[in-house]
Structure formats: structure tokens, C-alpha cells
Symmetry: D3
């Protein structure tokens, strides 16, 4: 006969107290103004570059749609990224720049996110940048599926206990 | 050979700095109590009017369902309206009134939304009013698809820098 | 001592079998091509009319954002309208027309929705039309809160057992 | 000829002012630190118990997935439970314990939720506990559909005007 | 100097091919009519029982709201339960019954869900049952936080390769 | 006096019929089995590499959580990417591989998505890959904010009128 046995999962080697997923407690963190800037880019071919600039992609004005997608994704970050805290996002701005060099047509996406909250907005800025790039891909993929979303990273953050972070370029 | 070329999209005539969609920065706005009252209505025929009042519509008690839909939509406003800020909605109340006049059967929907936040709740009240009306349409459309959702507008708002707004009747 | 008592809620007078909310069973309905066209409009003042046309509203290009909002809302219809069935929406198109008459500046919003499914897309078209109008309101409300979303209604539907519906004008 | 008639729905007997669904106004409630602990459990058979512990369920590591599901559901509480207020959830932690007794294999799920807000987090903790249990069911149902989600209840809450609640055991 | 090294995670002992979470491939499963019936219940005190039946709970008509919540949750199942497939839910019906016995006031919640799809609707029925119970808790918790959501389980399923399942009582 | 004037927006130069955003009509496309494989990766430092492999990151088991996030995002693709069609996703599988080379620690994320539908699953695979990478970033950012999400692209697709696409490496 098996005995009554109450086991805390922490006793299983690899799902210990440390290894278990949790949404970190930020109840006591200070509410401060915080900003984050993230960047992504997408490499397209010349035909797509021309169609984006001329706004002749079949699905519509690519950059307008991508911008709206990025902003809406910023607001959905805590429902997309499991351990992210919900945040009262107070501002999002997305900027596009073209880096055109010989055969390379790179659309650079820069997102600035702001909040007045208890935790940073890095994930909001990064998620917005990724979704903006994915939306550009979606709208242009009928022309060429070979587009590549290039590096996505945090450029800068301010506010909070860890203070300012600035990416070395 | 094409030269290296970095273009700020602001240089494209119609997607300039002003024309670009953004979620306006409200980081520095003051947190105050804010309220908004919005109204919509739906014009139904006599059969639907009778069935709503008698609660004999096939899909269920129309007004109960519509009210829940309106309240849930108020909470979803910032995911439905792209440039809307997420808000800690602190209260929503929906009231129904019938305006019956000869052949006209008008269900008037009045929504009051409240928050203690950095921006107004006009969109929450308006979105709730529209969704309440749409839900009434959905639940009664098997009887008559000719229902019309009549004018939807802001009745009043209080709080915030722009102060009180009262619609002239 | 109270006796054991199992009561079907149907016995309570006003929440009877008919009055209870349910998502109507469409399992046996035929999968056919279905379309729906809905219309809404928003009445704005001359300043807003000019700013929309010139794209100088502070939040961005109003019509681009409103169109994206409408299309995304069409896809969310079954999560917004409680008794609506989820549908594999196969196409959505939103068209804007200005009706300018003396002092009246009316932006007419026409939405066409399509599916190949077991139930109609009327709610998808109507929800998209309402959300498009609400988004225009949101983006222009800093200029004037007195805008009115005018009548919202179904223009036409095709497909399904109930066949073609055409609104009499 | 029918007369003009404006009826407040409150006059209909069973949908009176009290009976109408509303999201209760919490605008004036104090922002304080609040916690809630909820518990649920799921009764599984020996085969499932062994497979969960050995991580050999076909769909993946059951407890990891269930934990993520529970945490994400906590954040979605106000979109799932109609009259729930949106809350800035500041922390969620889910713990698993096995209660093994003869033929009974009970996985106990304990959720602690925290916020600094104007209303309690009981629903967040309870919703997370239920969704965690439902996810375990989903991941193991190919082995046995006879699993039962056992009692789900609030263990404890702190903070807010009503103060501490502690379940008597 | 470290060598170049490509490791498939399957080589890590506990996250092997079997242990990894995945959404099981159902591409080749047959589309058939499927139904599922799930049950949950909530134990309330006499005061709450009376207030639900009399509809005098402060937040509104408890059962109407709970029913809408359950139906909407059924439609959200695949966004709530991580490994669940999205399903074209074709019908949901929720029934309430009171089991009153001496001091026990048990509200029994029975959910029937239907689809014509490639996988079963057990999770939809179970999720709807749980959310209906949670909503009852939410709406009555101002009266008593001691309510308990009792056992939640699958009563019956039909359709699909595994055929009929019927819970033994 | 201004004359009555109905203008189709197509007459405005840059928002013409072609330039307007729309969800392309796929009503007449054939339902076939479709697959897509996408890839992303994230570059981490040695400390994070060690902590992921040892599962000692503070927020929990990174890869388990990231996998769940990717799968859930795949299901949310049509709500995240504005012009994407809703799809009955029939399977998603995410694989992790480490590419370790001197100072470089690259976690390669490969996602395979499947459907039986009228349109491809490229966006589902790409969105899942991006969200998986973003989740890894989120869970490790307390250790180092300098991680970079490297190139994200479509590896292969099958099914549909455009047939097989295979990325040249």
C-alpha cells in the first residue's frame, strides 16, 4: 500500500524553485517615467522597395499599416510575452528610415515606447519593432518571400532602478 | 552604381512627421478622475420591440447580453481603437430606455464610463455604446435585418485639462 | 428540514428555455459563399474635414488608421459580439466617400465582408463599419468632440438559406 | 394612434436598477497592496501521474505549460470575467504539489497573485488556478478523459477595505 | 578555443523530443460533427442563493452574465489553453440547475458545445463551465468569499476517431 | 454656397484604389494542406547561455516558456498582423538548437506550422519564431540587455497555388 505523500515539486531536480516560471513581483518597485527605444529592419528587393515608396503594393499602404500594427502590438505585449507585466503604456512612436546601398534596400524601424510605471518598456518597444517588420513582410510577400527581418535589439532605455542603458554601436 | 542613401520617411511628401500615426505621449498628463457619457440607439420594428420586452428572442434575453457586451467592449477599447491609450477603467454603467412613438421603436443606450487616469474615457463610453447596439442587432437580426443603429455621440465628459464638455441639445 | 430539490432554471418565469442566451447551433448549416455590405458615416466639422483630407491631424493619417482598425475589428467580431459564431473571414474591403453639402461634411464608410462559411457575415461588416467610424472620432476628437456617428446599417447580404437581402433606399 | 412614450427599463419588473449588470465604480477606492491565494487541484490516474512526473506526455512538459497558461490567464482575467476591473497585476506565482494517497493522484495548484491597485486580486488568482487545471486536463486527455478538476476556492486575501480573509480549513 | 558546436536540444536530458510542448498535428484528421458536455458547480450560502434567484445581487443578474461569460470563454478556448487547436465552434448552450439540500445550495452548470471540425470540443465545454462558475463567484463575492467551485469534469463526448465517451456516474 | 459633392477617395492621389489597405479576398482559393518553416535566432552571452542550459534564470525555464509563447502567438497571428486571414492552424512545432562558436552563443529557433486552409501559414511560422525569440529576451534581460535577435526568415513553404518555396542558403 502506497503511503500518503505530499511532494513539493521543488524536489524534482530540474523544476526547482528557481527553475519555475513566474511573473516576478514588482509590487514594491517605484513608479517612474521610463522610456525604451528598439530597432529592427527588413531587407527587401528593389521591386518591393519601389512599390513601398510608390505605395503600389496590392494589400495597401505598407508603412501605414505596419505602423498601426506595431503600435497595437506594443499595447498587447503583456498578452503576447508570458512573463511580462501589464503596463499603462503612455506613448509609442514608430519611425521608418531607408538605408539604400547598391543592391541593399533596408527599411529601418525605430520604436520609442514610454510609460509611467513600475517596470520598464523594453519589451513593448521590441515587440512593436518585430511586429512592424512582420507586417511589412506580410504585405509584400506576394512579391517576394525572400525578404529577411534583420537584427532586432534594444537601442536605449531610461528610468527605473537599473538606470540608463545605451547600446554601444 | 547607386550611392548609399539614408532617407527619413519624413521626406516623402504625404507621410511626414505630422501625418504619421502615433500614440500620443501622455506621460506627463495629470492623473485625475474622469467620466464620459455616450449615447447610441437602435431603431427596431414592433415585432422586435415586443420580443425584446417579452424576452422571447430566440438567442436569449437581448438587453442582458447587450449590456455585458458593452461593458466588456469598454474594457477592450484600447485593443480595438488603434491610437487609444490603455486605461484602468474604474466603472461602467449602461442604461436602456425605450422611446416609442407611433411606428417608431427606438431603444436608447446610455453609457457612463469612469476612470482615474491620465487621459479621458470618451472612447470607452462610445465604444461600449456602439457594441451594445451592435449586439442588439445581432440578437434580433433573425427577425428583421432592417434595423438601423441611429446616431452615436458623446453627451458629456468631465475631468482632465480640457475640462467639462456638454453636448448642446 | 428542507428537502432535496433540483430545479431547472426553466421553471423561473423570465429565464425560460427561450429567454436564455445561447450561441445558436449551426452545425448542420451549409457552407456557402456569403457576402455582406454595411454602411456607417461620421459627421465632422469643416476644420476636421480639411485636416483629414490634408492629413494634418496630430495623431496621423486618419483614414489609413481607421481602415486598419475596421479590418482588424471584422476579424474580432466573434470575440466582441457575444452570440456571434467564429468565422473564417475570407476578405474585407473598406471604402471611404465624402458627402459634402454646405455645412455638412459626412465621411461615408462602406464595408464589404466575405466568407465561405456556415453563417452570414453581417455582423463582421457592421462591426467593421462602427469601429472604423469610432477610430475616426478618436483621431479627430482633440479638434472637436461634437462629431456624430450617423446611421449604421446593413446595405446588402448574399448567400445562405435566407438568400439575398437588399436594403430599400 | 400610439402616444410618445419614454420608458426607463427600471420599470420592467425584473431588470430593475439593482438587477442590471454593471462594472461597480471603484474610482474612489484607495490604491493599496493586495494579495490573494487561490487553490485548485486535478485528480488523475496513476498512468498520467507517472507521465507528468516523468515528462512523457505527448504534448510536452505538462506542468511548465500549465504554469505559463495560468500566469497568462491571470493577466487576462478582466477580459474573461465580465464585471472584473482591469488591474495592474504586479506578480503571479504558481506552485504544484502532489498529494498521493493509495489510488488517488491529486495535483494541487496554488496561485498567489499580487497588485497595487484599487480592487482585489481574488479573481486573478482563482482564474489562474482554474486555467492551470484546465491546461493539465488538455495535455493529458489523450490518456484519460476521466480526470476531474476538484474544488477551486480562495485560500486567503489581504489588503483593501475588507481586510484579511482566511479560509477556515 | 571552443569548437563550433550545434546541439539539438533533444540531447538535453529532460527537454527531449517527447518532453517538448507542441500543438499536435491534426492536419489529416477527418472533419466530423463533434459534441461535448461538461459540468461544473458552485456551492453558495443561503443568502447568495436567495439573491441569485431573486436577482438582487449588486452587480446584476448573475446567471445572465455568467452565461454570456461562459459562451464567450468557449470561443476563446484556444487562446486560453496553450496547446488547444482553434475550432469553428458551431454552438454552445449553458444550462443552470439548483441542487438544494438542507444547508447546501449548489448551482449546477452544464455546458454543451458543438463543432464540425478536426478535433474535439471537450476543452471548449470544460473552459466554458469553469468560466461560468468563476463569473458567479465574481458577482457574489461581495456577499461571501467562502463559495467553492466544486468538481468540474467531462460528462460526455461524441464524434471523432475515439468515438463516444460517457462518464460513469 | 458649396455644392453637394460626393467624392470617392480614389480621387485623392495617394490613397487610390491600389494604395488602400484591404484583406485580400481568398473566398475562391482552394483548401489544401499547407506548411511553412521559419527561423529566427538570438545571440546571448556566455552567462545567459549557461543559465538557460542549466535552467537557472530567475523567471523560470526559458525554453519551455518561450515555446509556449511561440505556439500561442502562432494562433494569434491574424489578430497581430492586420491583413492576415484567420486560419484553422492544425499544428505547430518549435525546435531549439544551440550554435556555439568561440564567444558566440546563438540559440536557433525553428518553427513549423501547418494548416488545411485557403491561404498559407508563412506569417504564423514567422510570428511564432519572432515571439519565441522575444520571450527569450524577456526572460534573460535582467542578466544582459545587449542580446540581439538575429535574422528572421522563411525557410520553406509548401502547398497552395504558388507551390513550394525553398530558401537558398
Amino acid at each position: 500500500m502506497k503511503e500518503r505523500l505530499v511532494i513539493d515539486m521543488a524536489e524534482f531536480s530540474h523544476i526547482n524553485e528557481q527553475g519555475r516560471a513566474k511573473m516576478v513581483d514588482i509590487t514594491e518597485k517605484t513608479v517612474t517615467s521610463r522610456t525604451a527605444i528598439a530597432r529592427s529592419s527588413i531587407l527587401v528587393n528593389e521591386e518591393i522597395y519601389t512599390k513601398i515608396v510608390d505605395q503600389t503594393i496590392g494589400k495597401g499602404d505598407v508603412l501605414s499599416v505596419a505602423q498601426v500594427a506595431g503600435i497595437m502590438a506594443a499595447k498587447q505585449t503583456s498578452t503576447i510575452i508570458p512573463m511580462c507585466h501589464p503596463l499603462p503604456l503612455s506613448g509609442v512612436n514608430i519611425q521608418f528610415d531607408w538605408n539604400v546601398d547598391n543592391d541593399m534596400f533596408e527599411l529601418i524601424i525605430t520604436v520609442e515606447a514610454k510609460t509611467k510605471g513600475s517596470t520598464g518598456v523594453e519589451m513593448e518597444a521590441l515587440t512593436a519593432a518585430s511586429v512592424t517588420a512582420l507586417t511589412v513582410y506580410d504585405m509584400c510577400k506576394a512579391v517576394d518571400k525572400g525578404m529577411v527581418i534583420d537584427q532586432t535589439y534594444l537601442v536605449e532605455k531610461t528610468g527605473g532602478k537599473s538606470g540608463v542603458y545605451q547600446r554601444l554601436k
